[in-house]
């Protein structure tokens, strides 16, 4: 049936179907090979295989408890995988602290709860990591911080404290804070789930702009509109395993698995 042919076709065409015709190098930027994770007896991630090339935008979706957050948190070792290999930017993620240091500099993360530092102003929030980790001067860090604040369209909030900002503004500051480290990869863990509905758009606009500029992104989200607009691939996770992986058109238009259809029926 065309379904099988379509799967084969989309898989083989995948490397070429990216915006602006970016040719991916033969080595993917992120590789997850046979990754398993247990929380005690609970098998949270089962045999995950995922390759992300440079400039690709991946949206990970699935029902709650399916392991989406666990998956991306394993990539910067906020969670530790017990089996399998994770390779980021040609560095393997293991117990070596030096490797971890290098990886965390190149991987930025945006959290559902923003996690801004409440005792620092917005500007200090943005300058902390560049000055103390990348060791650049305070003046340069401030310049960079203002540049990114302008990019997320809140340059006038630089001297405010996070507690004085709306949730949408806080999340945009969080995005700017990660960008100040100039990472190669951005991970988003349900960035709009804790936002008031009227603020979701402003954050999504920032993320869309980032995507259009060629940032490699893995986004865990329920915003299917975003997935359709921006994603190169949608990965559907259920009960810890990758059930389906496809381009947005194929994923939403012709879902293959029953579980995918059930999930899509619930959220669309």
């Amino acid at each position: 049936m065309p379904v099988l042919a379509q799967t084969v076709l989309s898989c083989s065409l995948l490397p070429m179907v990216t915006d602006q015709g970016i040719q991916h190098s033969s080595d993917p930027l992120i590789q997850l090979i046979g990754v398993h994770k247990w929380y005690g007896d609970f098998h949270a991630l089962k045999d995950i295989h995922l390759n992300v090339s440079e400039g690709e935008r991946i949206v990970v979706c699935g029902p709650s408890g399916s392991g989406k957050s666990t998956l991306i948190r394993c990539i910067n070792r906020l969670e530790q995988h017990q089996q399998g290999r994770i390779i980021v930017n040609k560095i393997e993620l293991d117990d070596n602290l030096k490797h971890l240091e290098h990886i965390r500099r190149e991987v930025g993360m945006v959290f559902q709860q923003f996690n801004l530092f409440p005792h620092l102003t917005v500007l200090d929030n943005l300058c902390l990591a560049p000055t103390s980790v990348r060791k650049i001067s305070r003046a340069l860090a401030e310049q960079q911080a203002m540049h990114y604040l302008e990019k997320v369209q809140i340059p006038d909030q630089a001297q405010k404290y996070p507690g004085q900002l709306s949730s949408g503004q806080q999340q945009r500051v969080a995005i700017a804070r990660s960008l100040c480290m100039n990472p190669q990869i951005m991970l988003f863990d349900e960035p709009t789930s804790a936002l008031d509905p009227e603020m979701i758009k402003e954050v999504l606009d920032v993320m869309i702009q980032l995507a259009q500029e060629g940032m490699t992104m893995i986004v865990v989200t329920h915003e299917m509109g975003f997935a359709r607009t921006v994603a190169d691939r949608v990965v559907f996770l259920d009960k810890g395993e990758v059930v389906e992986e496809n381009t947005p058109d194929a994923f939403f238009g012709h879902p293959k698995s029953e579980r995918t259809k059930l999930f899509l029926g619930q959220i669309l």
Binding site: L78, M109, F111, N115, A129, K160, S178
Partner: protein, 362 residues
């Protein structure tokens, strides 16, 4: 405001006062009786204390003959004041104590700098300067200052030295122990827990006693560290162990997301602690920290056990003077007042610090 509206507002406030009285003190017959009774008792106490301490008290003179009759004999306190303040410090050298106190007050100013790191850096510098300057001044031996042995130090000066060192030392010790207790490294965690539990489980008196009598047995023959040093070490470690638990409470109050965001940005353990976690954790437990400091100030009176005479010790010694028998109460009241002023000042500082460090909450 016109006369009419002024009168109106006066009447309004009188009304408010009368309403408050009616509601809170005079609501029912039983309340009226109780209020009257309480007011009467209050009147008795206050009038008695006022008469004893102020109205009938003896302020001038220089011997017990000047203290006849009922009132408090503040002459005793006045005559013995230099000893209460300086202990046995030679009179000619007392200016050094005053200068040392001035140096300390000045070096505390950096605490009001803007950023926490800057404050810590300056604070560290200030503390080292203070320690050095104070020691040089008080002990002497260099710069042509005649040495004054530590067994001559006493009175309020000794109280301030012991509690000052204890306060400055206990915070870093406490922070390190708290971090050690939360550490993932088993050896460090075990050592921290052991230290905290052993030191906290033993009364300070015991610790001081052991430090003063048993320490010489553990050290090589002849090495006998100064009594004051032993007391300082004992008090600092004791307060540090208590502080560790206070700080640990603060660390537990920090949401996990802060650690995660910091780690995701690439900040290592010490940078996370120094820039993100500890500033928030310490802010949260300022009441607990200042409480430990206040307890420490009062615990310094225990150095009497090892033969050092702090303020209370000097008062007790003065009370046994045959020339002033019978006036011990005035001495103790004076000591109590001084301690109260010191502790109350610390608690006001605590509240000012909390207000200043409160950042805008969502």
């Amino acid at each position: 405001m016109t006369t009419v509206s002024k009168n109106r507002s006066v009447l309004r406030s009188a009304n408010v006062a009368w309403n408050w009285l009616r509601v809170n003190l005079l609501a029912s017959p039983i309340q009226i009786i109780l209020s009257m009774g309480a007011l009467y008792v209050l009147y008795l106490i206050v009038s008695f204390v006022l008469r004893w301490a102020v109205l009938d008290a003896h302020w001038s003179g220089d011997s017990r003959q000047d203290c006849d009759g009922f009132g408090a004999c503040w002459v005793f306190v006045k005559v013995r004041l230099p000893q209460f303040l300086y202990g046995f410090y030679p009179e000619a050298q007392r200016w050094r104590v005053n200068v040392a106190l001035l140096v300390c007050s000045v070096t505390l100013l950096p605490l009001f700098a803007r950023s926490l790191v800057r404050r810590l850096a300056w604070g560290l510098l200030a503390v080292s300067c203070y320690a050095a300057a104070a020691f040089v001044l008080l002990h002497g031996g260099i710069f042509d200052l005649p040495p004054v042995e530590t067994h001559l130090w006493g009175g309020l000066m000794l109280t301030l030295v012991v509690s000052g060192v204890g306060i400055l030392g206990s915070l870093p010790v406490g922070i390190l122990l708290a971090l050690g207790r939360r550490s993932d490294l088993p050896v460090i965690q075990a050592l921290s827990v052991a230290f905290i539990e052993v030191v906290r489980g033993v009364p300070l008196v015991t610790l001081l006693f052991m430090a003063s009598t048993m320490l010489p047995f553990f050290l090589p023959e002849g090495a006998s560290p100064d009594k004051l040093i032993r007391a300082l070490i004992g008090i600092t470690l004791f307060a540090g162990a208590n502080m560790a638990e206070v700080v640990r409470g603060g660390l537990q109050a920090i949401p996990k997301g802060q650690f995660e965001a910091s780690a995701a940005l690439g900040l290592g353990y010490w940078k996370t602690m120094g820039f993100v976690v500890l500033p928030q954790a310490l802010r949260v437990v300022i009441p607990g920290i200042l409480n430990t400091f206040i307890s420490l100030l009062k615990d310094t009176t225990l150095v009497l056990i090892i033969g050092l005479f702090d303020l209370l010790g000097m008062v007790q010694a003065a009370a046994t003077d045959p020339r002033w028998l019978g006036f011990a109460l005035e001495g103790y009241v004076f000591a109590g007042l001084v301690f109260w002023v010191l502790c109350f000042s610390m608690s006001r500082v605590s509240m000012a610090l909390e207000r200043k460090l409160r950042f805008a909450k969502s």
